[in-house]
Every structure is written in structure tokens, then in C-alpha cells.
């Protein structure tokens, strides 16, 4: 294994001050090698999104640090692209103009932008919807636009914050398959946050299970199932059982710690 792409060391995040302060992340240590597809799995409110936001530079850690290729993260940047649960498309831009947003920021000329955008519209199967506005399209289509808008920028690291959580099961599976297909071609480093066990097993090389607040890593598993993966296979089921068992233990412990909750 080469040197890790992303390193988090002793990361602590507190919201608020004094007795009302909430500890979202408590002593997170993590090293993600280049090209790995890592899923962070955890219950709602465990701080998994906060971790992603700190990596993106959108949120500051209370203490500890994150480094990318050895350089400390201080601000957001084009090297770390992010996909959001709410899609975060610009409603005043058509599908095409959303996708070319990053290229505009790079001040590329119109012809180059057009060509690259056309390429990504094709990959994401959006050719026929290029000139439609987000509100005219389904949730699945919208997230496809967001994926194209992210990948056209070719970021070294892809941070994905429950990107498929608001979609129906079928669309979710489909987009997961497409994401893996594109990822296998580019082999970028991916951190994918989800609370769905199946989604995590389907996508990830590595599964990080997080505890309830304050968030810590409880388990760090490798998933070596061959791709493409079949959620109905015995091997998939075996992994699913193992992970589900781990999470159940975690819920039980959290219940003992907070009997009132």
C-alpha cells in the first residue's frame, strides 16, 4: 500500500460552547489510501456528515487535523469534490449549464466546455434533458446531473454525503451501479457516507462503522467481494449478516449509555 491519500489524526469536533456543547466527533483517526472506495456507515446524527464536511474544508475541526497528500486541509478546494444529499443543483441553470459550472470557474473556452459537457451528458444518459431545468426532472435525474457536475471537474477525492438517500430503491441501485462503473475507470479516492448497510456493502472496498454521538469508529472492515456485486448472492448475505450484527451491538450499547433516549 502506498502512502495514504487522506489522513485524519485525532480529530475532535464540538458544536457550541460550555455545558451546552455537543461533541460530534471524538478522536477520529483514519487513513485512506489513494484509489480506495470507503464507506462510512452509521446511524443518523453520528457525525459522519460532519467528518465529510471537515474534509471538504466547509467545516473546521475543533482540534486535530486532516491532511491530503501530507498537506493540511484549511479551505474548500477543487481537489475535493462533494456530492450532497439535497443534490445542490443551481435551479436557474439548465442541466448542461449546471454540469459546466466547474469548467466556467476554470475559465475554459466555450468550445472546450461544450465538448466536455456533451461527453458527460452522454455518460450519465442525460443527452435528451440537457436544456431542462432541475425542477422539470426527477430526483434520480437531478442527482445524475450533480454527479456529472462533480466528475467533470475531475477531483482527486470524491466526498459523498448520503447522495442517494432521498431516492427510491430502484433509482438508488441504478445510480450506485453507474457510480461504480465510472469509478472503476478513474479510480479516484472516494469517501461515501450512508446509513444503508446494503448500499455500503454494494459500493465499498472498505467499510467504516461509526458509533452514535460522539462519533468514533467502531469497526473497519475490508469488503473483498468481486465486482459487479450481487446483493442476492450468498457471499453478499454473509457480509450483510456480519455488519448488521455489529450495528445491533452498537445500538444496544448506545441504549445502555442513554437509558432516557
Amino acid at each position: 500500500m502506498t502512502a495514504a491519500k487522506i489522513v485524519a489524526s485525532n480529530l475532535l469536533k464540538r458544536f457550541g460552547e460550555g455545558p451546552a456543547a455537543v461533541t460530534a466527533l471524538d478522536g477520529i483517526d483514519l487513513a485512506v489510501p489513494e484509489g480506495q472506495f470507503a464507506c462510512i456507515l452509521g446511524p443518523s446524527g453520528c457525525g459522519k456528515s460532519t467528518l465529510l464536511f471537515i474534509m471538504a474544508g466547509l467545516e473546521k475541526a475543533t482540534s486535530g487535523a486532516i491532511t491530503i497528500d501530507g498537506r493540511a486541509v484549511t479551505d474548500p478546494g477543487r481537489d475535493r469534490g462533494m456530492l450532497f444529499q439535497q443534490f445542490a443543483l443551481f435551479p436557474w441553470r439548465t442541466a448542461r449549464r449546471n454540469i459546466e459550472f466547474g469548467l466556467e470557474l476554470q475559465k475554459l473556452d466555450k468550445a472546450t466546455r461544450w465538448e466536455k459537457t456533451r461527453h458527460w451528458l452522454e455518460i450519465m444518459n442525460l443527452q435528451d434533458f440537457a436544456d431542462m431545468y432541475p425542477h422539470q426532472l426527477s430526483g434520480g435525474m437531478q442527482q445524475r446531473i450533480a454527479i456529472a457536475r462533480l466528475l467533470i471537474n475531475d477531483p482527486e477525492i470524491l466526498l459523498m454525503d448520503e447522495p442517494f438517500a432521498s431516492l427510491d430503491a430502484q433509482t438508488r441501485t441504478l445510480l450506485g451501479e453507474e457510480l461504480i462503473r465510472v469509478w472503476q475507470q478513474t479510480r479516484r479516492t472516494v469517501l461515501f457516507v450512508t446509513h444503508s448497510v446494503d448500499e455500503a456493502i454494494f459500493l465499498a472496498d472498505r467499510l467504516l462503522v461509526m458509533t452514535r454521538r460522539p462519533g468514533r469508529f467502531k469497526a473497519d472492515l475490508r469488503i473483498d467481494l468481486p465486482r459487479p456485486r450481487d446483493p442476492a448472492s450468498d457471499e453478499f448475505n454473509a457480509v450483510r449478516r456480519e455488519v448488521t450484527h455489529l450495528i445491533r451491538l452498537e445500538v444496544a450499547i448506545a441504549g445502555e449509555e442513554n437509558p432516557g433516549a
Binding site: 471538504a56 474544508g57 466547509l58 474548500p76 478546494g77 477543487r78 475535493r80 469534490g81 462533494m82 450532497f84 439535497q86 445542490a88 443543483l89 443551481f90 435551479p91 436557474w92 441553470r93 459550472f101 466547474g102 466556467e104 470557474l105 476554470q106 431545468y133 432541475p134 425542477h135 450533480a146 457536475r149 462533480l150 471537474n153 477531483p155 466526498l159
Partner: protein, 261 residues
């Protein structure tokens, strides 16, 4: 059965004109047979005759263009001054701090209360009328613009940041377009206020325009001209609002649901 529902449908189609027709007919009858009152309150037939005469002679057109010129000048001034102030107040906390006392202190003073001071300072003429339109409309433009800026969805800004946008790009490519619907709402409200203000100004502070037409006619006890003028004022106000709605619809096609009212 079919017959009954046909009757019902016909009644529904006629419903909007019933009250106006009954009103105009009774007014005509009352004015013709009411003795001395028909000088003070002429029948509608006289009013329409006068209206056509005002149109034919070009008098009405001159007054309408005088009023519209003042609306346009005051309104343009209001947009030129109000939008940048609103953007600044929404974006910079310091600008908000510096300007909020002034804006919130002056805003409750009705435009009509500015008339005496503006006549003292500017005399009778175009200036006080244009100033009145400006002072009547600028607040709604400032407040709606700054409201729009403050309510730009956070995730749109985040998305832009993770695609490499600097502060200038975030402002011009995200915050400004995202705040436009709110700005336009302010501008639409302002058109109605502007027209009200110009009529009020013309009643007192200037010697032309639709407002002047009806006060002058009052002094001559020409109720027919007063009422014909009122009808013209209503028609021009309606047309102004229709134009603004049309422009908004064209510019904000992406904004779902905004145009339904």
C-alpha cells in the same frame, strides 16, 4: 338534468359581469332621473363620452406619458440605488449594521408624508414627483433584495466552494442569481407603490399627469373628467402590473411555483 347543468354553466360564465352591468345600469338610471345630482354625478354615458374626447384630443395621452415618465425615472433610480444596497446589506454584516438604523428608521414614513418637505426643498415640478416615487419604492427593493441574499440555500454555496469557486465567483454566480426571485418580488411590489406615489404627487406637487388631471377637474366641478381620469388610472395601473408579471415570467422560468399567483 343536462338542461339544468347547462343553465348552471351559463350562469357561471356570466357571473363576473353581473355586478358591473347592474351597477352601471342603475347608475345611468339614477343619474338621469335624479334631478340636480347629475351635474355632481353624471351618468356613465357622459363619462365615457368625456373619456373618448380626452383620448381623441390627445390630452389623456399627454397626462399618461407625464405620469409614466415620473414612474419610470423614480423607479429606475430606486432599482439602481436599492439593489446594490440590498445586496450589500444581505452579504456583509458590517453593511447591514451601518445601514439598518437608517433603513428601518425612514421606511415607516409614508411617501405622502414626504410631500411638504420635498416641495419646500425642490419646489413644484418633476423633481418632487420623481423623488416621491423613489422614496416610496426603494425600501421594498432594499429589503427584498437583502432578504433574498440572506436566504440563499447554504448547500448551493457549499457546492460552488467544493468546485473551486472563490468569493467573487460565489457572489456573481450563486448568491446574485439565487437572490433574484426575491429581488423581483420587491420590484413587482414597487411598481404598484410607484404608481400610487406618482398619482399622489401629482395631486399636489406638479401640474401635469393623471393625478393633476383629476384634481384640476375637481376644481372645475367636472365630475365626468374626474371619473374618466380614475378609469384611466385603473387601466394604466393594471397594464403596468401585467407588464411586470410578463417580464418576471420570462426571466424566472426556472423558478417553480413563483408565477402561479
Amino acid at each position: 338534468m343536462a338542461n339544468a347543468s347547462n343553465h348552471k354553466r351559463r350562469l357561471h360564465r356570466l357571473a363576473p359581469v353581473i355586478i358591473p352591468v347592474v351597477f352601471i345600469v342603475s347608475w345611468e338610471v339614477a343619474a338621469r332621473f335624479g334631478g340636480h345630482t347629475n351635474v355632481l354625478l353624471p351618468p356613465p354615458s357622459r363619462v365615457f363620452e368625456t373619456l373618448f374626447e380626452l383620448i381623441r384630443s390627445g390630452t389623456l395621452f399627454d397626462h399618461i406619458s407625464a405620469s409614466l415618465f415620473r414612474v419610470a425615472a423614480g423607479y429606475a433610480l430606486s432599482v439602481i440605488v436599492g439593489v446594490p444596497i440590498g445586496l450589500a446589506m444581505g452579504y456583509w454584516i458590517l453593511a447591514e449594521g451601518l445601514l439598518s438604523t437608517t433603513v428601518n428608521g425612514l421606511r415607516p414614513i409614508p411617501a405622502s408624508a414626504w410631500i411638504p418637505l420635498s416641495i419646500i426643498l425642490m419646489g413644484i415640478g418633476e423633481q418632487p414627483a420623481i423623488f416621491l416615487v423613489f422614496i416610496g419604492t426603494v425600501w421594498s427593493i432594499i429589503l427584498n433584495t437583502s432578504h433574498g441574499v440572506k436566504n440563499v440555500p447554504k448547500h448551493l454555496v457549499w457546492a460552488a466552494q467544493t468546485m473551486g469557486a472563490n468569493n467573487a465567483a460565489i457572489f456573481t454566480k450563486v448568491i446574485f442569481p439565487a437572490s433574484l426571485p426575491s429581488t423581483f418580488t420587491g420590484m413587482r411590489i414597487a411598481v404598484g407603490i410607484a404608481f400610487t406615489c406618482v398619482i399622489v404627487a401629482e395631486l399636489i406637487a406638479v401640474r401635469s399627469g393623471l393625478g393633476y388631471l383629476i384634481t384640476e377637474a375637481r376644481m372645475l366641478v367636472r365630475s365626468d373628467i374626474v371619473i374618466a381620469g380614475m378609469i384611466s388610472i385603473g387601466a394604466v395601473g393594471f397594464a403596468l402590473d401585467a407588464i411586470v408579471r410578463f417580464i418576471m415570467k420570462r426571466t424566472l422560468r426556472w423558478q417553480k411555483g413563483l408565477m402561479t399567483e
